[in-house]
Amino acid sequence: MLETVMLIVFAMVGVSLLLNVWRLLVGPSVPDRILALDTMYINSIALIILYGMSMGTTLYFEAALLIAMLGFVSTVAVCKYLLRGDIIE
């Protein structure tokens, strides 16, 4: 059962990612695209966790953790860029 569920969830996350990409491509504004990318980051964490579960290994946990941390920083950086131009001022 778990395998089936995992497949379903995989599919859900996959569809989510595609939806994110849709928004990323369509925009229309830059903040929209940032939002889409940010969401993509988070959804990739889901993907990695699911992958780790399906393979039964925790080796990829750190990758997920880092995406969480770094995705935040990069979103913040882009927003700061839009707001102030100079992200380190």
Binding site: V30, M40, D86, I88
Partner: protein
């Protein structure tokens, strides 16, 4: 040792004279003269042995591998030349003492002259052809220096360049020829070469070799059509001309003919090339000489003509011709040197050399005039003078040759015509200068020169006379010895005498003399005729050609190196495409034998996202922020691909690097335009699409070919030894810090250097800081959004904890110093973003430069540490310790190494970002920082 000393002494003389700057002119001259005099005495000492038929040899090893020795060989020919070079050299030096004005540097002239003498001596006594070439080129260099002695005059500079160009070109040909010759014979030794006539003649390369060597000889001895440099070399001071154009430089060319006569001559091709060149030069020089108004110009073309005569003699197929050639070499040296010196006196005393102004000098300087007239008569071939003797021999030999078969009679006739012209220009030299009315507008009032200035001329003129009257007494020995050397032992009977009875040659002489006088008296018509000819200024042509070549090169270079990076990259990529695709087509099957893995949905989706990201980056490249966001998608997908394909370390690294890169790009984007304009034409875009698609397909094919093949690699070793030998279970990390830790050391150096470089780049950068974004919006008012500021403070300790965690586990699980370092750096970057660089600067007073240095130092010294255990650099050490309460822990040198990595990464990354941040930290926006 004696032979070596001859050029060596002369070289010493060069050095000595260059240091006589502080001495008086007489002292300087005396010191300079000392050396050639010694050399002359040494040569005289050797002469009897040579006359007796000995060949004196000396060899020192220099570069045995290349067959280049320092080898000397004194035979008759060499002896003759050594005498000539030294005697005339001594006279010229003496003469120059009086010639040079007080403004001219005497040591410089003497040093160059002596250097030149060294080179000439070297040529004539070389027993190794490469060494011969060595000195040959030295004459080119030193003559360049001599001709350009008055370098502030443009004609001196240009004349020198022209001489060097022509003789340099000939020198290169000569080198090629000599190398071929050496290869044919198997040795560069002259003895061997001279003894290998038959091998050489039979060899397939003979013709090429001969032509190359002759090119060397002809350019040096100013043979037509390479003669044009010589008149322009007259820009040199007259003593230099006297030396270069009588006894040395140009004689080097005919020396070469004589030197290789035994080995190369005797074939039809030799006779044809040499005689025709000689004949053409003889006629051409004699003809042009008549029309020169400049005294030195006349002498220059006369020199060309006489060298043509000598060359022609070497090209005639009779043995006596060679003897005549040698004899004429001596005679020409004597009368030409004296004529040049006389010209120098005239120039010196009157301030001009223009024969249209110089008239009736007999009245002002009768003594000098007499000397000059005797020498000129010798040049014309008047009996009782040496010039007559050799010219007689020449005429005789032109009658004996069979070069042109049934047309051979043409040569004596042409020779006679040339003789007539020689008489005519000699007559002009005498009549036009010393008689022919009164001088016109002379810059100076002429008078006799200082007494001693005439001494050298007196000596030479005396020689002309003595040789002319009693030739046997003076030149027999040396001429015989030289002829033996040239003809290889079998010297035909010859008799140098004033009177051979009434014969054809004498008649030719008579015709030449009377014809010459007739020509001179009728010169007005001739001049008119000559002026009507299209004038060919060799110098202008040479300059034009040189200029054209340089212009053409410039055009080519500007067209090729047009400063367009796009072209350079395109070229490189095309080469890559060619190299990578061409072997692909040779493959029978692209794919390998490995079982393919089926595509699953996740991979397909990941691939789709990655491709979408890639294409979007390209599609949106005009709006840079969007393009950058799209690139982030690609980066994210690449790291997910690494997770998918069992490379957690790579995924972590890729992630962190990607984020830092994006931040950097964002920082850059602030200073750069926000949009890329559309500049490429559609053709260009199509072409670029072609190239990039082609490369993509090729690389993809290679990639496919690789991944579908089984691999047998050295990695088994790493897997087997990671734990036992490296003390860690994360094999990738063990490779990084142990097996291939050296790479990592290099890698952190790269990172550190990059940071230093960036700091360097940003120093004193004048930047226009935009005060609004590309759509004209002013920047937001809030510099440091409050919520962000407070949350980032809380995240910092957490991030440090995580980075410590990642660092610590690296050896056994995915992680390690590099990733940890980047995580730490990112945590600090967040602080920079949230609080600004001034805020950080107040709190973090660390010199990043030192941090970087410390990091690399730690890594380096960890490696060096193993020396104390007698092991090579970077041999790792690890041990497990059981500590009460805590349990078993592992200590490894690799961990310390990794600390170095960590520190370097943190230092470098922060240095890069802080330098960038500092750029704008204190600057109000919208202002230019200088």
């Amino acid at each position: 040792m004696t032979l070596l000393w001859i050029p060596l002494i002369s070289l010493l003389g060069s050095i000595i004279s260059s240091m006589t700057g502080k001495l008086t002119r007489n002292q300087s001259t005396g010191l300079t003269l000392l050396m050639p005099v010694i050399a002359l005495l040494m040569t005289i000492n050797l002469a009897p042995a040579v006359f007796a038929g000995d060949v004196i040899r000396e060899t020192f090893t220099w570069i045995p591998l290349l067959g280049i020795d320092i080898a000397f060989r004194l035979d008759g020919l060499a002896l003759l030349f050594v005498f000539m070079i030294l005697v005339i050299g001594i006279l010229v030096i003496f003469y120059a003492r009086y010639y040079l004005s007080s403004n001219d540097s005497m040591p410089k002239l003497y040093a160059y002259l002596m250097l030149f003498m060294t080179a000439m001596l070297g040529i004539v006594i070389s027993n190794n052809v490469i060494q011969l070439w060595f000195f040959w080129e030295l004459t080119s260099i030193s003559s360049f220096l001599l001709i350009s002695y008055w370098w502030h005059k443009s004609e001196a500079r240009e004349g020198a360049i022209m001489a060097l160009t022509v003789t340099g070109a000939g020198g290169l040909a000569l080198l090629a020829g000599l190398l071929l010759l050496g290869d044919i014979v198997g040795s560069y030794n002259l003895d061997v070469i001279l003894a290998s006539r038959d091998i050489i003649h039979a060899h397939a390369w003979y013709e090429v070799t001969l032509i190359l060597i002759l090119l060397g000889a002809f350019t040096k001895s100013a043979q037509f059509p390479f003669h044009f440099w010589l008149p322009h070399a007259m820009a040199a001071p007259t003593p230099v001309s006297a030396y270069l154009h009588s006894a040395t430089m140009v004689k080097a060319g005919v020396f070469l003919l004589a030197r290789f006569y035994p080995a190369l001559a005797g074939t039809d091709i030799w006779f044809i090339i040499v005689s025709f060149t000689g004949l053409a030069t003889l006629l051409f020089g004699a003809y042009v000489a008549l029309f020169k108004h400049d005294l030195k110009g006349l002498l220059a073309y006369s020199t060309i003509s006489h060298l043509g005569l000598i060359t022609l003699l070497f090209g005639l197929d009779t043995k006596l011709a060679a003897v005549a050639a040698i004899f004429h070499i001596i005679n020409h040296a004597t009368f030409k040197a004296s004529l040049f010196m006389a010209t120098g006196i005239i120039d010196h005393e009157t301030g001009t050399r223009d024969m249209r102004k110089l008239n009736g000098l007999w009245r002002f300087m009768p003594y000098t005039a007499t000397l000059a007239m005797v020498a000129a008569a010798s040049m014309a071939g008047v009996p009782l003078l040496n010039g007559f003797l050799s010219k007689e021999m020449f005429f005789a030999e032109t009658l004996h040759q069979q070069l042109l078969g049934s047309m051979s009679w043409l040569i004596p006739i042409l020779a006679t015509i040339a003789g007539a012209f020689a008489v005519a220009y000699s007559a002009r030299f005498i009549h036009d200068v010393f008689f022919n009315g009164d001088p016109i507008d002379l810059p100076k009032q002429p008078s006799e020169p200082p007494r001693y200035m005439r001494v050298p001329i007196e000596v030479l003129v005396a020689l002309c006379l003595v040789v002319g009257v009693v030739p046997n007494f003076i030149v027999d020995d040396i001429l015989t010895a030289a002829s033996v050397a040239v003809l290889g032992g079998v010297v035909p009977e010859f008799k140098v005498a004033l009177w051979h009875g009434f014969n054809l040659p004498l008649m030719m002489s008579a015709i030449a003399v009377s014809g010459g006088l007739l020509l001179y008296t009728q010169r007005r018509h001739l001049f008119k005729f000559h002026d009507s000819l299209p004038s060919l200024n060799a110098k202008k042509a040479f300059d034009k050609i040189l200029f054209a070549v340089m212009k053409w090169s410039e055009g080519k270079i500007n067209a090729i190196e047009n400063g367009s990076l796009q072209r350079y990259i395109t070229l490189m990529l095309l080469v890559v495409l060619l190299f990578a695709s061409w072997p692909l087509f040779e493959m029978s099957h692209l794919g390998g034998e490995k079982q393919l893995t089926p595509i699953d949905v996740h991979n397909a989706m990941g691939a789709a996202l990655l491709m979408i990201g890639a294409f979007s980056t390209v599609i949106w490249y005009h709006s840079r922020v969007i393009s950058l966001l799209m690139l982030s998608v690609v980066g994210l997908m690449v790291s997910i691909a690494f997770t998918r394909f069992s490379a957690p370390d790579l995924a972590l690294t890729q992630l962190t690097v990607e984020v830092v890169t994006v931040i950097l790009l964002m920082l850059a984007l602030f200073f750069l335009p926000q949009h890329s304009p559309r500049e490429s034409s559609s053709m260009r875009v199509l072409r670029d699409i072609g190239i990039s698609t082609g490369l993509g397909i090729v690389i993809a094919s290679i990639c496919y070919a690789l991944v579908t093949r089984p691999l047998d690699s050295i990695s088994e070793f790493f897997l087997a030894n990671a734990k036992t030998g490296g003390g860690g279970t994360n094999v990738v990390n063990v490779i990084l810090v142990d097996f291939r830790g050296f790479d990592t050391l290099g890698e952190i150096c790269v990172l550190g250097i990059a940071a230093l470089g960036i700091y360097k780049l940003l120093a004193n950068l004048p930047l226009l800081i935009p005060d609004r974004d590309s759509e004209g919006r002013p920047w937001a008012k809030e510099r440091y959004p409050m919520l962000l500021a407070s949350i980032s403070q809380s995240l910092l300790p957490l991030a440090l904890l995580v980075s410590f965690y990642i660092f610590l586990r690296g050896h056994n699980l995915p992680g390690g110093g590099f990733i940890a370092g980047l995580v730490t750096a990112v945590a600090f970057i967040l602080q920079y973003i949230a609080h600004g660089s001034n805020w950080i600067a107040e709190r973090l007073t660390i010199n990043y430069r030192k941090i970087i240095a410390a990091g690399i130092a730690i890594a380096l010294f960890t490696g060096v540490g193993s020396w104390f255990f007698g092991r090579p650099f970077m041999t790792t050490w690890f041990e497990y310790f059981d500590i009460p309460l805590i349990g078993e822990i592992e200590l490894a040198s690799a961990l310390i190494f990794d600390i170095g990595v960590y520190i370097t990464v943190v230092g470098s990354t922060l240095m890069i970002l802080a330098s960038l941040g500092q750029l704008t930290a204190d600057e109000p926006k919208g202002e230019v920082k200088i």
